[in-house]
Symmetry: C2
Subunit: 275 residues, 2 copies
């Protein structure tokens, strides 16, 4: 199988790594949209458009399945995108919700993520539909701690207390941004040992690998397409924990062209469905 | 005159605005290298290469003068770049140093900036050469506060205290990153009213406008070349205080090609000088 994985930048590499670990025989194409990172504070419609362009690109490359390794893009583009494309699509939200439901004994689940993810309310709605109580907090500075290589720093400690100290009692806390597993230590320390941290990367790789268990593997190759500078990508990817595979530049203009085609097709599809 | 101005992203817009305010009749080309932002934590050689590519691009467009509206790029590429190009080049550092020297009565000047700028030691050396005492602090999270639209926030307050509370007594504090003027209120509040904040954007626009006072103006047009996504640029530029002029996409691959030419030319120039 050729599996397409995409994220606004390097955060999704935590998901790619987890997927590759569970399914080492499959092939992966990863798109890191570093020319437009971060998605977290951008309007929902903008992020949805970006996701459509990247999905179109990956489909052109022949992927058999798509993984949206970005909470902001998942919350902005699902389930619409899944309706529009001819291959299975997974976002990071459903697996995270399921995993939190499974580990939360007292039924009190917290979610931290970008402004876009938290504002969308998607985690809250899905968790509440399972009968769970929720608490949500946008942590806009967390992603920058990770990309600056400040996961273990006084700044991380300060900001973790700022974002988490007024939480109610929780059984589980969803790390609702693919960058956050890099901050796991400080988040666990500040949340206290009794809170079970749910890592979307682990959760989605479990879901995907179970679903694709009987599919024929490929050659175990990983290719990274990067919209920003390749050297800068490699540098930041190293901060988040290394990167395997070839890095290929992907001009953002190509994605913009695909976005226009995707938007036109989706519009005509919707017209057809409504006529 | 056609004046080229460049920065890693939107921060240099504070400089562009100040220049345009003082010289409204001139034409400006601005390059915002948003595909590779931020420069502040990248290796010096990488940033120097980026600066060379952008300078080559602006020279190809026919600029009569160059302003490096980024402290990290100024510290990484000056004075080498000025030696290599056939037009006047200004960085933001010299004007900031001169302005601090002029306002500091007690001779105690602080500098805050990115990791790259502070680590280069360029401000410290230039200030100490004027007989001033210095204190320097890298504030890697400040740029993100600005780009997240969190200039007035609890996070800004927390981080300003974190970075500034252990400063010695200062007369002046150089805002050594073009993003920081957006944080002026919180920095002034935390530093105390007695500290004179030096804004590089004001300092450099003064220097450039005095030097070019007798040059023929143009048509007052501003054009923005953006390596990342244009819509995302406009969005972030709005956070920092709006943007005038047309926005034109500039593929990062074009700059990479120019960087290679510029590096080859510079190498052969150096060989010639040493032979």
């Amino acid at each position: 199988m050729l599996i397409g994985v995409f994220d606004s930048g390097v955060g999704g590499l935590t998901v790619l790594r987890a997927l590759h670990r569970k399914m080492p025989g499959h092939d992966f194409l990863y798109v890191g949209d570093t020319a437009r990172v971060p998605y977290g504070r951008k309007p929902r419609e903008m992020v949805e458009t970006f996701a459509r362009g990247i999905a179109s690109f990956l489909l052109e490359q022949g992927v058999d399945a798509l993984v949206i390794a970005c909470n902001t893009a998942s919350s902005a583009s699902l389930p619409q995108l899944a309706d529009e494309v001819p291959v299975p699509v997974w976002g990071v939200i459903e697996p995270g919700v399921a995993a939190a439901g499974a580990v939360s004994r007292g039924g009190r689940v917290g979610i931290i993520g970008t402004v876009g993810t938290i504002r969308s309310g998607i985690y809250q709605r899905k968790l509440e539909a399972l009968g769970l109580e929720t608490w949500a907090r946008a942590c806009p500075m967390f992603v920058h701690l990770v990309e600056e290589g400040l996961a273990e720093s006084a700044e991380a400690e300060l900001l973790a207390h700022h974002y988490l100290d007024d939480r109610p009692e929780l059984d589980a806390l969803i790390l609702g941004c693919t960058h956050y597993p890099v901050l796991r230590s400080v988040i666990q320390r500040v949340s206290g040992g009794g809170v079970h941290l749910v890592d979307s990367a682990e959760a989605i790789s479990e879901t995907v690998s179970v679903t694709l268990a009987n599919c024929p593997p490929g050659s175990g190759r990983i290719t990274h397409f990067v919209t920003g500078d390749s050297i800068a990508y490699e540098h930041t990817a190293h901060v988040i924990g290394g990167v395997d595979g070839a890095i290929v530049p992907l001009p953002v203009a190509d994605l913009v062209a695909l976005q226009k085609v995707a938007a036109a097709v989706s519009l005509s599809l919707r017209k057809e469905l409504h006529s």
